[in-house]
């Protein structure tokens, strides 16, 4: 099957059928043909993607899913504020949607109905910054997918762990016990920092809802309306970014951010030290040893380059003296020997750093 026929026939046909069914169902939902009054807008997109995605080429799927996720986010917004969503008159439904958003951020939202689920998923939009952190953490710690400690129970164990950590190590393995105690202590500190960081975002979410409420009030005053899912999503993003920019510029946030990074680094450092200990026990090179070698090697290379430069300057001066035309004081001399081709060596290191076949071989130091 070539790609052209796939897209012009199979793919488009599948989409067409899906949407014909969906529109028919929607007419029922609108009361035009009787039936259910529910309007599962966001789940419709989900169902569409579930139906279509198996036919999508694997290479594009991940990229498309990213756009699907955001598409769902703005249809979730529309679903939440759809005048009929909460039942009753429009204003009370609208107010309830804002109140539910606030409760969602403060943890006061309960229940398990479709509306509540939609709200929880919409609030997940505020997980974006934390999701970015999780992805980054995962890439730095290939041993631990995601952020291992993020969902670890904390409050209940704190007292027990504190007692455990306060017990001194004894006997032959005293140092090892101490190292493990320190590892646990640092783990707890990182977990605490991460919880505080997450809590800060919850507060931001509440403030963003307030900003959205004020924005809506302005619209009412000016007599304007929002008439598309995309518009309400864009407005919500603007409110979130505005609140975010204000709050993350504060010292409070800078301290939370610093604490998060510092505690993660402290934990990672202890883990590295313990891995080093194990490597040493196996007579294998440790990270610490390699770093010492790297330091010494760089220092040697630095000196070599300086000496090489000095040597070329001296050569030029000697040459000038021999030719009977000594260089004036402070005169610059050629140290690269351009365009001498004899200095040419192999291509540079690094991915994509140098072309495979340069038109003229580069001079190399």
């Amino acid at each position: 099957m070539n790609e052209d026929s796939f897209f012009s026939n199979d793919w488009m046909e599948t989409q067409r059928k899906y949407w014909e069914s969906w529109i028919a169902m929607n007419r029922k939902a609108m009361g035009l043909e009787g039936g259910s009054q529910t309007a599962p807008w966001e789940s419709a997109l989900d169902h569409w993607w579930t139906a279509i995605s198996p036919a999508a080429p694997a290479g594009s799927k991940q990229f498309m899913e990213r756009m699907m996720d955001q598409g769902k986010a703005f249809f979730k917004m529309a679903e939440t504020f759809l005048p009929t969503a909460g039942g009753g008159d429009g204003w009370s439904a609208f107010s309830k949607a804002l109140e539910d958003m606030q409760k969602g951020f403060t943890g006061g939202l309960t229940g398990s109905g479709d509306g509540q689920n939609a709200m929880h998923r919409m609030l997940a939009f505020w997980e974006l910054p934390l999701d970015n952190w999780q992805r980054m953490t995962s890439s730095l710690s290939p041993m631990f997918p995601g952020d291992l400690l993020r969902n670890m129970p904390h409050d209940g164990m704190q007292e027990h762990v504190d007692r455990l950590l306060s017990a001194p190590g004894l006997g032959y393995t005293r140092e090892e016990q101490g190292a493990y105690q320190d590892l646990i202590r640092r783990s707890m500190e990182y977990q605490k920092a991460l919880r505080e960081y997450s809590a800060f975002y919850s507060q931001l979410g509440v403030k963003a809802v307030e900003r959205m409420r004020a924005y809506m009030q302005d619209l009412i005053t000016s007599g304007k309306t929002i008439d598309s899912a995309r518009a309400i999503y864009d407005d919500w993003v603007s409110c979130c970014e505005a609140v975010y920019a204000e709050e993350v510029g504060t010292k409070t946030y800078a301290d939370l951010h610093g604490k998060l990074i510092n505690s993660q680094m402290a934990l990672k450092q202890r883990m590295s030290e313990m891995v080093d200990g194990q490597l040493g026990a196996l007579n294998m090179p440790t990270r610490s040893e390699i770093r010492t070698l790297q330091d010494r090697l760089q220092e040697t290379r630095r000196e070599n380059k300086k000496l090489n430069h000095s040597l070329k300057v001296l050569e030029a001066k000697v040459e000038a003296l021999i030719s009977g035309k000594p260089l004036p004081e402070g005169a610059r001399v050629k140290t690269h020997g351009v365009p001498r081709a004899a200095l040419i060596a192999g291509p540079a290191e690094g991915k994509g750093a140098a072309p495979k076949k340069p038109a003229a071989k580069p001079t190399t130091k």
């Binding site: 990229f63 005048p83 429009g90 809506m216 009412i220 975010y244 990074i261 510092n262 220092e299 130091k365």
Partner: protein
């Protein structure tokens, strides 16, 4: 009356449009060929470790000016941003004005480069590239164009080696790292930089990506992809988007020791304003920079606020100082259509008037 008027039928239509665009977009994504970056022909003329110095080919019909210009890009991200596509290329614009353009590609540092210091970069790599170009052209001085962090490098390099620099251009270059509203600076204040570098060695590009995304997380990690759907039906725009996406996430790791000094001396201590920056045997004093200086900055720059660049004027020793504010952002200053028409021609003219 509530301000929301979204009817179910309209919402259905909107969703239909969205999925139609996605469907069509998948076709365009599949047909998108390999993403090429760095479009102008160039030759590698000098290499050292992972560094490659490129010289761009002079376009047919253009006579190059006698004094070449060396573009010094930041260590963060890759320099092909300056030549990202045929119709959006700072390099191409410079070549069109008769500049003989060289560019330093720093490559991708790895663990073996962890110990590279700012001294190694400035008084080592950059200085040897400048020497190479001077020798190749039989000149005592060349022009330098520094970009962002590369602009900071260029300022410091020129202050240490003024005799080798004829004219200096800086683009979106911070000098005051602690202006109000500078989020990056604010976030770094409570960080234990030594602990981070000691722990990680090199600073991973992923950490930098996270930091930059965190500046506008909802727009950059969410809304951007919704906007993308709007252009999915246009194959050229898809390709442009993917090219930018590649550049954004193509973040080299940062040599640990260089990151340590840069973060501490500039972001934490604001060293160009408060003094105390020492590079090798030199104490940096921008008053030693006396050549003509063109400072180009972006008015909507969220990474380097205009005030951060404008502080340059009071610190340098140059009597020929020109500012060129551009109504755009940190990236738009290279890739926007407006920048192609306004920024590069202005830089070229400024250089031509002085070379």
């Amino acid at each position: 009356m509530i301000p929301i008027d979204i009817r179910p039928d309209k919402l259905t239509q909107e969703m239909l449009d969205y999925t139609r665009k996605l469907g069509k977009g998948m076709e365009n994504l599949l047909n998108a060929e390999k993403i090429d970056t760095g479009v102008s022909p160039k030759q590698a003329v000098y290499t050292e470790d992972k560094l490659v110095l490129y010289r761009y080919d002079t376009p047919a019909g253009v006579t190059p000016r006698p004094v070449p210009v060396l573009v010094v890009y930041a260590l963060v991200n890759r320099p092909y941003m300056t030549d990202i596509q045929e119709d959006r290329s700072t390099i191409k614009g410079l070549l069109a004005t008769g500049q003989d353009v060289y560019l330093i590609d720093w490559g991708y540092p790895d663990g073996a480069d962890r110990c590279l210091t700012l001294d190694d970069y400035l008084n080592g790599y950059i200085d040897r590239c400048v020497d190479y170009i001077c020798e190749a052209h039989g000149l005592e001085q060349i022009n330098i164009l520094g970009i962002c962090q590369g602009g900071v490098f260029s300022l410091m390099y020129t202050s240490m080696h003024q005799d080798k620099v004829k004219n200096l251009v800086t683009m979106v270059t911070p000098v005051d790292f602690q202006t109000p509203g500078n989020l990056l600076s604010s976030w770094v204040q409570a960080m234990d930089i030594d602990l981070a570098v000691d722990t990680m060695g090199n600073v991973p590009g992923e950490l930098l990506n996270w930091t930059f995304l965190s500046l506008k997380p909802f727009a950059l990690a969410g809304q951007k992809y919704v906007n993308m759907v709007d252009v999915l039906e246009d194959a050229d725009k898809v390709k442009n988007f993917l090219r930018m996406e590649k550049w954004i996430f193509d973040s080299p790791d940062q040599a640990g020791e260089t990151f340590r000094q840069f973060a501490k001396d500039f972001y934490q201590k604001n060293g160009l304003i408060n003094g105390g920056v020492v590079i090798g045997e030199h104490t940096i004093d921008l008053k030693n920079l006396t050549c003509p200086l063109l400072n180009v900055y972006a008015l909507q720059d969220h990474l380097v606020p205009p005030a951060a660049s404008q502080a340059m004027k009071a610190l340098v020793g140059s009597t020929d100082y020109t500012e060129n504010p551009f109504p755009g952002g940190h990236i738009g200053i290279y890739v926007s259509g407006k920048a192609q028409k306004e920024v590069t021609p202005a830089i070229g003219k400024w250089l031509n008037d002085r070379s």
